[in-house]
Symmetry: C2
Subunit: 691 residues, 2 copies
């Protein structure tokens, strides 16, 4: 490989990170020189502590670390933590698990950010006690060793204040009254009371603190568990040829609530540009009747803080939010930071766009494709600080109206530092805010956006169909460190994505995909009514675009169709609400089945009491059966006792024993079984008289 | 778990690491806000960049990193590096491997420490070129886009100086002469010359630098590849009842050199304490004839910088070093930082020891066991700075005499920060110095000492005997990140350790263990002549102590015994020197054999030209045979062509083809086969006339 001497302009590392000129090897600071305990491999920790982990209110965070010291003295470990709004560190002991690995835990009852760290030190008094017990057992002369122990107490008593100081003074007094063979003195010195009092007296100078404070972002539970429903408000109307409004959306709320959705996500509700407005089926030249794409934001009526006049007024929108809230539904808005040519920013802040040499504003391109209805914002503009603040103002505006959930459109096309700044800034003031990253892009970019702060993320679930694909992907999401910062939100479809799989499977594939999304993912979403009415016509063969896509026209859906999946979705969402096992993803466990069309997996509630086992027939075409080989230890089921599985969809009950069990699923009735696993069947031994 | 509010004395995180009081969320600095490229997962990197990796002079270091940006612009990556004694960063490009993973490499021709880092940025001109090519191909009107490209050149030319400035001005001049249809202009703008000139013009403000500078410690090759021979100088004499001297050691040098050892390691050569001096077989009460343990350092004749008078003078020692050097052997000394009760430090610096309440100095203990001939230094003494400096002075003293290799006795019983400080300090001035950690302790402690700076480390090889044990352990050492910082030195035996395995296998087990140590480990060692004369009598059954251990008495060995392993060892060490494959460990690869008594593995030279395959019969009792299943792709051997294996011990040649080959080993002749694998056998196709 060619090696070039660094160029004049580039030779230097940017000043802020330059290595010190002083070539002395990095050395322990004077403080660190007396730290005998080493702390390593603290978990959870992302990229050496560079990024936070994520949890929700009420979680318990288990922290592990390697702690060890030179020699054979007794090591103490402490897990310390505090909410960032508190000055006080709280502490809880770490306990040795095995092989120098220690573990502790703390609860996060409050929204916001917590810091946590680990510290350790040598407990000289505990060391003395341990050694003394061995000496006494070996019947050695302990006269001098007793004086050493007494000396440790006296030294500590001289420095300790408060309660533990008083306690130590009592202990010291008890010691002075002893005489050979020192029985009473030994009892005091080897007692629990002395151990506890001395454990409180630590010379801070000798305490090792792990060199990074780690951070956990604590969200509300909806950040982890929620069913999303995406709907175009302009289509939410029953009358033909009418333009839906926030008012007509209100009448849809019952329908959505009956299906059990928690979040109603609306594509952009802002004024739609007219210049280069798209026609039906993405026709670059719309006609006068074209309603345009809601993502072409901005017109003479305003931009990102205005409302498209045909949808109603701000008050109508607030009414919709209130009505939704009464139904237990929260509204999510779309943050699509781009502009139509008619957006007010274009005139008011041309410096936020790229101006071409001919004086025109640069439209969006993916050469040779041109998207002349969209002007991207130029985040590399020298005026970026004002642009950033303006966009933060957009978020603030909708927060002021009561919105807390934002689905972010294409975040991977805006700079990473912008998102890091924006989300941290907003969540610092509104820790209940939720940002869903719609970044369908390369895996490392998706994960990086999650590390930077996005609360949830779209996933590749949409295209993962086979048993191997699903198993591999969800193992990566739930069994690697990805689980600490990337919260998957599984979408069956979106206005942009009608997968080929959905195009060719009919009703059975829609049922299976819904069940997979809703049980593999604590967070999932559908774009309806296209989904529940199994709309499956692509714009053209091989395309993932919908024919007559709602992105470019109003669609009137017959939501009362008797063959709608509405009931099925409602049942699934009720099962999700009733079963804590389905409300998080970290317990996901796959189980082998000897038929590649059958996928089986389980989830458990954190306390282990609720266990759900799901079996899905991935083929929409044929009945499939097979032998399921359950991982009984993972399910905490005993192999030598029968257990009950209760199909929550059909209400059938089965009695199983041992790992190997027969399953059969017909895609044309129900392609999925969702079993509640009940471990303890009552039997004769459970009666009192049997014991 | 009980949670307690932090105590008054302990509530605060030590000040130097306290979180900022300001509760603003951590935000990108103004500089970072314009950094569109993210850099993650740089490898090699130990614990998030907290510890250096290790290499030897002449190595090439391959660095990988994830680099990616928002959007679809062209990303550039650079690996930068410098020796710590140089101010100038050198640079070499990173190349995209796959999935946002980039790779580059640099050489380390110089002893000492190098720093390395990664940076990345958006290459706007390359992006423009890529897009322009697509536009041209689609036959679009590119008038305005041409002006954009020209503008990029002009902008760069305004700021660039020197060679690339001149180059850009030439390009700009070439552009102005163009006219529609811009053929010539396009040729210039899309040309390599423009690409290269523009690649040199980077706006430093927009360059992302990875947030840690990583460090590699570069040692001399002997730090990785060397055969060690440990010997008690006082036993190195042929006359009965005589005390060996440095002079008598000189006559042993030919013997050691003939066996092919690179390093002669001597247990402590300092005056031996008399108080509580141990007798034969560790008898706590020695008699007047007791020579004592060399590790009970210090007497009226001096301490760690003095020489035991019976061994000779400092000049004798220097003569020995010089004589050894002439034979290609380097002397290693023992650093055993502990004292006999007669050590001068005890009187001169009682503050460096622990004084008990009765005024006596604390001797070493592992309660209830007492080691009254040893006083440990008290590293927790308030006077520790003077103690540290004194011990550094000891190392400096022997460096001044010409010693560069130190085997460190029980480093795990002295504080970690001491070693970090000492080794960095010494190696900063003497980068050719080598510190071998004799820490037979828990794995995380051993690894931590290696991270802190020890050049090499003793390992558990000594007790790993079965196929599973050896495979698992050496996979951990060579296939995990441990390989980056922990250099194993494999010892067959030590004066403290005569393993049970060696006690019961006779000559075959000594041969097998020697071969395993010498081929599994680029660095290995034996304690002789006990080893080559297969001394196998324990002090008592179940003990690993030698009967009549040299630690407590002089042993006169019959090194001329005809059944000595001397010749065998000599052959093995010559094979090591002749075959670069055996001079490092990172290429180690195990190959399956269908007999658990047979272990097979290979190593390759970095350039792949030298391939060694080793098969060992682990059973000292029976002939074993089996089918070896070679990993041919790992060996870069084609399955469809025969290849030659040449047994370097017996000089037998075998012709093999395909992965499955038969092996049979008789422990009573030679329990090991060391094959040179030669991939390309000449055959008819190789003749000119065939082609």
């Amino acid at each position: 490989m060619k090696r070039t001497r660094a160029k004049e302009t580039e030779r230097e590392i940017p000043t802020e990170r330059r290595a010190p000129r002083n070539q002395e090897p990095p050395q322990p600071t004077m403080g660190e020189r007396r730290h005998r305990v080493a702390i390593e491999h603290v978990q959870p920790e992302i990229d050496g502590g560079r990024y936070p982990i994520k949890r929700v209110v009420g979680d318990t965070i288990v922290v592990e670390a390697d702690l060890f010291a030179d020699g054979h003295d007794v090591v103490r470990g402490i897990l310390c933590y505090r909410h960032e709004q508190s000055e006080d560190w709280l502490e809880t002991p770490l306990k040795l698990v095995t092989n120098d690995r220690w573990q502790g835990s703390f609860d996060v009852p409050q929204l916001g950010r917590y810091r946590y760290g680990v510290k350790g030190w040598i407990d000289h008094f505990a060391t003395w006690q341990r050694d003394m017990r061995k000496r006494v057992e070996a019947q050695q002369d302990v006269t001098v060793d007793l004086r050493i122990g007494t000396g440790l107490i006296e030294e500590a008593a001289r420095h300790a204040a408060g309660e533990s100081g008083a306690r130590l003074k009592n202990i010291r007094a008890a010691l002075s009254s002893s005489a050979p063979p020192f029985k009473a003195q030994l009892d005091v010195l080897l007692g629990e009371d002395a151990a506890e009092a001395m454990a409180d007296c630590v010379d801070r100078r000798l305490v090792t603190m792990y060199d990074r404070e780690l951070i956990v972002v604590v969200d509300r539970p909806l950040a982890r568990f929620g069913a999303w429903y995406e709907m175009f408000p302009r289509s939410a109307v029953n009358a033909d040829h009418a333009h839906g409004t926030f008012k007509s959306c209100e009448s849809r709320l019952s329908y959505i609530a009956e299906m059990g959705f928690d979040i109603l996500y609306l594509p952009p509700i802002h004024p739609i540009g007219e210049t280069h407005r798209k026609g039906r089926n993405n026709n670059p030249r719309g006609d006068s009747g074209s309603v345009g794409s809601p993502w072409a934001i901005g017109a003479r009526d305003g931009g990102h803080t205005a409302i498209h006049p045909q949808l109603g007024t701000l008050n109508d929108f607030k009414d919709l939010m209130a009505a939704a809230k009464r139904k237990g539904i929260e509204i999510a808005l779309d943050l699509a930071f781009q502009c139509s040519p008619d957006h007010p920013y274009v005139k008011e802040h041309p410096e936020w766009f790229t101006t071409r040499p001919d004086g025109t504003i640069q439209f969006a391109e993916n050469p040779p494709k041109k998207y002349q209805d969209i002007f991207p914002l130029n985040f590399e503009s020298e005026a970026y600080p004002e642009l950033w603040k303006e966009l933060r103002g957009v978020v603030q505006y909708w927060i002021d109206q009561g919105i807390r959930i934002f689905r972010v459109d294409n975040p991977h096309t805006k700079p990473f530092p912008f998102w890091k700044w924006l989300i941290a800034d907003v969540k610092d003031r509104y820790p209940d805010s939720i940002f869903l990253s719609e970044a369908f892009t390369r895996p490392k970019v998706m994960y990086h956006l999650a590390k930077l702060g996005f609360t949830q993320s779209y996933t590749y679930f949409t295209w993962r169909n086979t048993k191997t694909e699903l198993t591999d992907y969800f193992t990566e999401l739930t069994k690697t460190e990805v689980r600490e910062y990337f919260r998957p939100n599984l979408w069956t479809n979106t206005p942009d994505i009608l997968t080929e799989h959905l195009q060719h499977g009919g009703r059975p594939v829609f049922m299976a995909r819904l069940a997979l999304a809703a049980t593999l993912g604590a967070s999932y979403g559908i774009y309806g009514p296209a989904f529940e009415l199994y709309e499956d016509r692509p714009q053209k063969p091989g395309s993932e675009e919908y024919l007559d896509s709602e992105k470019y026209e109003i669609r009137h859906w017959d939501i009362a169709r008797p063959d709608s999946l509405k009931e099925f979705i409602g049942v699934i969402n009720r099962i999700r609400r009733d079963n804590p096992a389905l409300q998080s993803d970290s317990s996901l466990q796959f189980h082998p089945v000897d038929n590649d069309h059958l996928l089986a997996y389980s989830k458990q509630s954190p306390d282990g009491t609720n266990v759900i086992l799901v079996v899905v027939n991935l083929s929409p075409h044929h009945v499939h059966s097979g032998w399921l080989e359950l991982d009984l230890p993972a399910l905490e089921v005993q192999a030598d006792r029968p257990f009950q599985v209760h199909d929550l969809l059909t209400h059938a009950y089965y009695l199983w024993q041992g790992p190997r069990n027969y399953v059969q699923l017909d895609p044309h009735s129900v392609p999925v079984q969702i079993f509640a696993v009940r471990r303890n069947l009552r039997r004769e031994q459970d009666f009192d008289y049997f014991l």
